[in-house]
């Protein structure tokens, strides 16, 4: 039997009243005074606020700025460096990103490097990358991509940059960095040389390519990482905001190009109990954003080149940038920043070179794309 409108109204009233009394003790002094003043104003204004509404507390909270920016960090990703004498263009682009971040005022709390520092994982490329990133004023946290790893299975990377997976805390937010590009062994049986193995992995549209995982793949690397992740998450409370950095998107976007993590559901399940989770990933070289369950996903830009959007699987919430101009080396590329808010969520700013910056907020993702919509590009993306 459906409820009568008056019954529903009464239910609503009782719910709001309950909530109001719940919230009252949680207010601090300033907020309480504001509420007191607001209710006095209601009495004076006579029906400006419907008398049965208990939404005053929300109004005060919002004004108080729960969505204020707590801190910022910057990112540079997917530089794909070759040695300078072979390719100047990628070096110039990486230096441009470093300049951008160094010019930020105030400086970000730290800089994340999103993976694929080198193009073919060679020591000279990795060293060149380290040299370029050392010019950054802020502290740098490194993350590995498949182009860094598969020449020597991470030997040089670990020598230069340390552990491929780790976590740290910053201003009450728990950060996790993963090596999400672990794949099944495709090189032993076929007796590939290291460079063959690297080139096999480097080709995005490789029809024989193996899908990325976090917890599986060759040897026991994945199993160890997954175990570590479980234990790391067990140590923090469910209310702590979490930001996860991974190279591949921790969801399934387009398998033929490995815009994909094969055990994404398992990783998402580990993160489900937490209230605020944001995943920042590289590899896709384009503005792409998604929301699955309690997790907000933001993809980073590359400095080297933009990938086209995949023909299928694009998250519905993503607003595509329009087609990159092949005549402009920097178009479709860039760097960016992430603003972590006081409510534990994160907004992303895409600093697209040759274009207006694009801001994608948690509010946009959580409203199902209805609020705070980023401006749509004028030209079609194709």
């Amino acid at each position: 039997m459906p409820k009568m409108p008056s019954e529903r109204k009464e239910e609503q009233y009782l719910k709001e009243r309950e909530k109001f009394f719940e919230m009252l003790p949680k207010l601090n002094r300033r907020q309480f005074l504001k509420v007191a003043m607001a209710s006095a104003a209601v009495a004076l204004a006579k029906n400006q606020f419907p008398p049965h509404s208990f939404q005053l507390v929300e109004a005060v909270e919002a004004k108080q700025g729960k969505t204020e920016v707590k801190f910022r960090f910057a990112y540079i990703s997917d530089t794909h460096l070759y040695e300078r004498k072979l390719n100047e263009r990628f070096v110039r682009a990486a230096l441009k990103a470093v300049q951008d971040v160094n010019a930020l005022d105030p400086q970000p709390d730290f800089v994340l490097f999103g993976g694929d520092l080198a193009q073919l994982g060679q020591p000279e490329e990795l060293k060149l990358g380290k040299e370029i990133l050392s010019e950054l004023k802020a502290k740098v946290y490194m993350m590995v991509g498949e182009h860094d790893w598969y020449l020597d299975l991470g030997e040089k990377w670990m020598e230069l940059f340390g552990q491929p997976w780790y976590s740290f805390d910053h201003k009450g937010v728990h950060f996790i960095v993963l090596n999400s590009v672990l794949v099944d062994d495709y090189w032993t049986e076929t007796k590939m040389t290291p460079m063959e193995r690297m080139k096999f992995m480097a080709q995005l549209d490789n029809p024989k390519g193996k899908p990325f995982t976090v917890g599986r793949g060759y040897g026991d690397v994945g199993k160890r990482q997954f175990e570590w992740l479980k234990q790391d998450l067990a140590k923090i409370s469910k209310d702590t905001p979490i930001v996860v950095f991974s190279h591949s998107p921790l969801y399934k976007y387009y398998k033929p190009w490995n815009f994909w993590t094969d055990d994404a559901e398992e990783v998402q399940a580990l993160l489900r109990p937490f209230k605020n989770v944001t995943v920042i990933h590289g590899h896709t070289h384009q503005p792409v954003f998604n929301k699955i369950g309690n997790i907000n996903f933001y993809g980073m830009l590359s400095t080297a080149w933009p990938w086209p959007y995949a023909p299928t699987g694009l998250p519905k919430l993503t607003i595509k940038m329009n087609r990159a101009d092949p005549f402009d080396q920097f178009d479709g590329c860039g760097d960016g920043t992430v603003e972590v808010l006081t409510n534990g969520k994160a907004d992303k700013i895409y600093n697209l070179w040759s274009r207006e910056p694009m801001k994608v907020s948690a509010r946009y993702l959580e409203s199902g794309g209805k609020e705070d919509v980023p401006p749509l590009p004028l030209d079609p993306s194709f």
């Binding site: 070759y82 072979l86 390719n87 100047e88 263009r89 193009q119 080709q203 995005l204 549209d205 033929p256 190009w257 080149w305 933009p306 990938w307 086209p308 023909p311 329009n322 087609r323 990159a324 101009d325 092949p326 005549f327 080396q329 178009d331 030209d379 079609p380 194709f382």
Partner: protein
């Protein structure tokens, strides 16, 4: 039957032309050659059907009307000889054709993924995995940045020259043809987005 009707018309036409003396031919038989008689010989596209023109020298340029009559005669002769020969091909033929096509496309695929076309380590598939965003079906079009009409091969060469910093390929280079073949094949039967049907010059 329609076929029989048009055949009849062509037969009539060729007979009339012949009788009118305006087209003076010695032979229209396969395998005949001009020897040293300095008469113009026109061969059809099958490489076999020939007309030897008695009243036209081999180095003579015909008037438009004459040329049209000769062309009509040649076509009629071709159809008269070949008409009831349906193009016969065997399963072996079609397997060979497919194999050749596959080889060409694979050759194109190989060059598409090869950074040695340029000098800086970049290859086509870096911006165009699976030949995405190449849009061969939109060519020819006015390529705004080149300030002229471009064909697909012009853009391939532009990419080799600019982002890949290499030397553009010669028009007759088999690699260029192979890459064109691969790109066209890869993008055929893909979802053609509506805007591609409107001739969108390559603007941003």
């Amino acid at each position: 039957m329609k076929g029989k009707f048009s055949f009849g018309v062509l037969m009539l036409l060729s007979v009339l032309l012949f009788l009118s003396g305006r087209v003076n031919i010695t032979s229209a038989v396969e395998g005949d050659d001009s020897k040293k008689s300095d008469k113009k010989v026109i061969t059809a596209c099958d490489g076999e059907t020939k007309l030897v023109l008695n009243d036209v020298k081999s180095n003579e340029v015909m008037t438009r009307e004459k040329a049209q009559e000769v062309a009509s005669m040649l076509l009629a002769t071709y159809q008269q000889q070949k008409k009831y020969q349906a193009t016969k091909f065997t399963r072996r033929d079609s397997l060979i054709w497919e194999r050749e096509l596959k080889a060409m496309i694979e050759e194109g695929y190989k060059w598409f993924h090869d950074p040695s076309l340029g000098t800086n380590g970049i290859s086509c598939d870096m911006c165009h995995p699976d030949a995405a965003d190449t849009h061969p079906e939109t060519y020819p079009k006015f390529q705004v940045q080149l300030k002229k009409i471009a064909l697909l091969r012009d853009m391939i060469n532009w990419c080799i020259e600019n982002p890949m910093e290499g030397k553009p390929l010669d028009e007759s280079d088999p690699r260029l043809k192979a890459m064109e073949a691969y790109i066209i094949w890869a993008r055929a039967n893909q979802d053609v987005r509506p805007h591609a049907k409107i001739l969108n010059p390559g603007k941003r």
